[in-house]
């Protein structure tokens, strides 16, 4: 078929030159691709470079053209306990929420593989946290955690689990605030992981199941030695996305706690600390230096994604 097309193209009488050039796949491809590539270069690659450059300057929101100060910003932040705390909090936030996500999503995806009445409704309910716009659904959480009239506290008090005066202040005490942002972020990512898991499970051929059944593998054995290994690659993809989404999130943490509560600032993350330094205090240079702490996460996840892309190309 291809050859025939080429032959027809060859035989066609020569027209104007520019239309001829457009018939060449490589040329046409570059014409079609380059606007997108140039745009992405200008709005992602260039700002990334600019972030690195800014981190070596003392630029402020007031005086945009800062002076080169070498490693000064990095040295300052490196010895700043607030920065170290932010890195540690980001680590905890990411690890704990992702552990919850993987466990719950794995369980849900397996249960959702079976057909049962009302499944579409349950699937829709499960998907809601991911499908609704996050900055808006966080308004619901803000109200659920409200210090004076939290529905959670009301429930705890009415079930006599806690007294009216000892009910937890979710966003106002150090430990509860961290637990709350972890829970809310897990809540947000679980649906995403569920649908990715489901796609992965659906791709496992039926024959594998049958073969396992013939070999007498059932229940947990089958899960551990057949389903799990086959599901591992797709679980990794969900995890890689989850890590990026969580470590680089600012909406959940900022809207719920603004990095607080004071004085411990137990939910101050790399993102909120970079925002406070760069925008609220106007120190663009140091702010950019802080945000670069996210680069290693991005690098690791990108490499993971590339390995996965390679693997699926081969198989």
């Amino acid at each position: 078929m291809r050859a025939a097309v080429e032959a027809v193209a060859q035989a066609r009488p020569r027209g104007r030159r520019w239309t001829d050039i457009l018939e060449r796949p490589v040329f046409l491809a570059s014409v079609l691709i380059s606007p997108a590539v140039i745009f992405i270069g200008a709005l992602v690659a260039a700002p990334l470079g600019l972030a690195v450059w800014l981190s070596f300057t003392n630029a402020t929101a007031g005086s945009l053209s800062g002076k080169y100060v070498g490693l000064h910003n990095f040295r300052t932040e490196w010895s700043n306990p607030q920065f170290k705390d932010a890195v540690w909090h980001t680590f905890l936030f990411t690890v704990f929420s992702q552990v919850v996500v993987l466990l719950v999503a794995g369980l849900l995806a397996h249960a959702l593989l079976k057909d049962f009445r009302g499944k579409w409704l349950l699937r829709f309910l499960i998907l809601l946290p991911w499908a609704a716009p996050l900055p808006l659904s966080l308004m619901g959480w803000k109200w659920i955690f409200d210090p004076s009239y939290s529905i959670l506290d009301w429930t705890l008090v009415h079930l006599h689990i806690s007294g009216p005066l000892t009910a937890p202040h979710f966003l106002a005490t150090a430990k509860w605030a961290m637990a709350s942002v972890i829970a809310v972020h897990a809540w947000r990512i679980i649906p995403f992981a569920v649908v990715i898991f489901l796609a992965g499970l659906a791709s496992i051929p039926r024959e594998v199941d049958d073969a396992a059944a013939i070999d007498g593998a059932t229940g947990f054995r089958k899960f551990a030695s057949v389903t799990l290994p086959l599901q591992l690659p797709i679980a990794t993809v969900a995890l890689l996305f989850g890590i990026v989404f969580t470590a680089t999130d600012m909406a959940v943490v900022y809207i719920l706690t603004q990095g607080g509560p004071p004085p411990s600032f137990s939910t101050e993350m790399v993102t909120t600390w970079s925002y406070k330094t760069g925008v609220e205090s106007g120190s663009l240079g140091p702010g950019a230096a802080i945000s670069l702490a996210l680069l290693p996460v991005l690098a690791v996840v990108s490499i993971g994604m590339l390995l996965f892309a390679k693997r699926t190309e081969v198989t």
């Binding site: 078929m1 097309v5 066609r12 457009l22 018939e23 796949p25 046409l28 491809a29 079609l32 691709i33 606007p35 997108a36 745009f39 709005l43 992602v44 690659a45 700002p47 990334l48 600019l50 972030a51 800014l54 719950v104 369980l107 849900l108 249960a111 829709f124 309910l125 499960i126 998907l127 809601l128 499908a131 900055p135 808006l136 308004m139 619901g140 109200w143 659920i144 009239y149 529905i151 009301w154 649908v195 990715i196 659906a202 993809v237 990026v244 680089t248 999130d249 909406a251 809207i255 993102t271 760069g278 663009l284 950019a288 945000s291 996210l294 991005l298 990108s302 590339l306 699926t312 190309e313």
Partner: protein
């Protein structure tokens, strides 16, 4: 039906049911709160799970008459439409070319473009804030229209690349044998049958715009230029006495239609995230 199968189904309900209720719980609270009488919010004898004095439209009325909500709706719509337009113009041709014309290089370039989607706004907002300030575009809708395609274009290009690969090549070959040029084939044959893919990109881009918080929070400083994603938080929550009922109405109005659309197009989004490897 045998007992084992029945037990399996029961187990599925037992696992999925409670989790579905927990995950949807905040939305239930939002709906109840949206139609609750203002006096019940701080009344400890009223159950937060239901109405004491019956549902009311008062919060909806308050939202539309006493807050700048309609302005934020309008701003969000303007930005959304502009961003969707830019995204389609850039991503449709690129996605097509990567799938069809560029061969193996196209696959690698596609993966490269997709990886840029992972670069988060929290890493780019300070340099872009610097750029926006230098261009004197701070506090304008234009600043967001310019910056938002930086995450809609990479993902949409990747999504469309996968989509175009599913369209049979023979269709185009036939058009070309009939004497149509490649460009004409693209406009007359390929784009019309790509409508579902393009629709997916429209919904996804709109959803990303509504989800974006960092840029909107950093670039926009006046109430009149805010979008839904920041206006509700900065102007309704951070005010002196939050009007929780109105805030929930504000959050639910865009969330419900978007959630329904998202659900309808779910399979395509999954194919996008998994690179079509699990279709």
């Amino acid at each position: 039906m045998n007992a084992a199968a029945l037990r399996e189904k029961g187990l599925a309900y037992l696992i999925v049911g409670p989790f579905a209720l927990v995950l949807a719980f905040p939305f239930y609270v939002m709906v109840i709160t949206a139609f609750k009488n203002g006096t019940e919010f701080y009344d400890s004898t009223a159950t937060p799970y239901w109405f004491k004095h019956g549902p009311t439209w008062e919060n909806v009325r308050f939202l539309f008459h006493n807050t700048p909500y309609t302005t934020w709706l309008k701003n969000t719509a303007i930005i959304g439409i502009a961003v969707v337009g830019i995204t389609l113009v850039l991503a449709v041709p690129a996605g097509y070319a990567l799938a069809r014309l560029a061969g193996r290089v196209g696959q690698s370039l596609g993966v490269g473009i997709f990886l840029t989607y992972l670069v988060p706004p929290t890493l780019l907002f300070l340099p872009l804030y610097w750029v926006i300030n230098t261009l004197h575009q701070q506090d304008t809708l234009l600043s967001l229209i310019l910056v938002y395609p930086s995450f809609t274009v990479p993902f949409s290009t990747w999504l469309l690349m996968g989509f175009f690969k599913t369209i049979p090549q023979e269709l185009e070959d036939a058009a070309q044998i009939d004497g149509a040029s490649r460009l004409k084939t693209l406009v007359r044959v390929v784009f019309p049958i790509s409508l579902p893919g393009i629709l997916t990109v429209v919904i996804f881009s709109f959803s990303l715009v509504l989800n974006e918080f960092v840029y909107a929070f950093t670039f926009i400083s006046s109430t009149g230029h805010r979008t839904l994603s920041t206006g509700v938080y900065t102007d309704l929550i951070r005010g002196d006495l939050p009007q929780w009922g109105a805030i929930m109405v504000a959050a639910l109005i865009p969330s419900i239609p978007l959630a329904l659309l998202y659900n309808a197009f779910l399979d395509r989004f999954i194919a996008g995230f998994t690179g079509g490897a699990f279709r």
